[in-house]
Amino acid sequence: MAARHQRCPGVTTAMSDPQPPIVELRGVSKSFGRLHVLHEIDLCLERGKTTVVIGESGTGKSVLLKHMLGLLHPDKGQVYVDGRRVDKLREKEWVPVRRRFGYLFQMGALFDSFTAGQNVAFPLQEHTNKSDAEITEIVARKLALVGLDGIQSKMPGELSGGQRKRVALARAIAMDPDIIVYDEPTTGLDPIRSDTINDLIIKLKNELAVTSVVVTHDMVSAFKVADRVLMLHQGRFIADGTADDFRRSTDPRVQAFVTGDADLQMSHLDQTEAPQGGTAS
């Protein structure tokens, strides 16, 4: 039997399941100078599920992700990982928390002075006592999982955009994380390569039983990989549901984004920005 989670309306948990959400943001706000990016965001990530956050560029999606790993700290609000409050941790205390995450950065963020193999090996060399032979074997296995075994000795500059993203994904999963964070995983890729990445996200969820959170504005990708979709608009979540809920949504902001219809969005903006009768001073 399932029930709505008390603080996380979008999350259903088994009644008998005493575990807290794997990641939870409560009332998180973030500003950069006078630019308010996040406004009292509440978000829970359901274990073993893929949560997709969509929204226009510049609405704070990447900022939201960086709060989960302590790469940014909230001005207001709290961040919990497995029920433990983490937003006040010192940099050193974040280390064991971050090891539970794999982070695929928007541009891959591969170390450009390392080969592809050295990039994937890096977290293993840093945080485990495995021998070189064991690390080599794991690197080959992770690269094979993303369909790139055999490119260990290539430098990032020699790889295509899609290959770089897949190597970055292999690095993100090198430590067998519980949670994988994908920041715009398909941006800049052609539809075929985008679909390869989508298949990988689904494969990793099924084979490694990881919790995933994906930030994207690629609706094909969002609908393919999502168990749950949220839409971030001007620093607030304005919609939360399944892919079907989003397809059927009557909210013009959601429709404009899902269909990619700029006219629909402009007409909504015109309506909201038009002077309201009796309110002008």
Binding site: L69, G70, P96, R98, F105, M107, A109, E126
Partner: protein, 272 residues
Amino acid sequence: MEGAIGRLGRATLDFLESLGDFAHFAARAVGHAVRCPLRRRDLQRLLPHLFSIGALSVPVILITGVFVGMVLAIQAIEQFKAAGLENRMGVIVSLSVVRELGPVLAGVMILGRVGGALTAELGTMRVTEQIDALRSMGSDPIRVLVVPRFLACVLLTPVLTIYCNLVGVLGGWLISVPIFRIANWAYWHYMQVAVETWDIGSGLFKSLFFGATIGLVSCYKGFNCEQGARGVGKACTESFVAGFVVILILDFFIALLLKGLYEAIWGFKLIF
């Protein structure tokens, strides 16, 4: 008037804030460097920087040193001849090079050759989220990126200064002996009498601080660079200017301190 005072106040606060931020950054880097257990992987990270900062800087240091020695000799020799002190050319060249010009010019050349490259490399890593990637993997970017570069600068600036000193003295000899016909024995003999271990040591002592300055300022500027190619370029310029100014200020205060210390122990020393 209020506006000007307000701007001055804000600028002062910004300066103090960045100074505090730099002090925190430097303390973390030095703390990690001191505790550095020199594991095999730490050494693997250090070696490429020893090569790029040390071995690849040798040619430019040698050229700088030899020309500094030659220029010193050219400028001084006529005056020394007029005063009948031409046999003491080795003294003025070697003391100037060993105490001041060798360490300072080697420091500035390393700052120009290495500091800019370090800032650009780390700045690019910041802009392309590679530093965030390190943090996201639970690694401390200061330990992984800054400590090997800082250690390489601290360890190799004194070594490069020794090279600069050696070729500086040789440069002075090239002008004084073969060209201006100063007696070879006199050049070396009076230099040997005048230059003490203290003089060489004080120059190398300074160069340790110059090396630390180069490593810390360059890495700090790279870590805090603004977005985009323009941000990286700006960080490189700021890194060189700040490093140069700090080297000159440190040189003055360390020279003052060491001079006072020398005179307190051995008293005033006449070089001729």
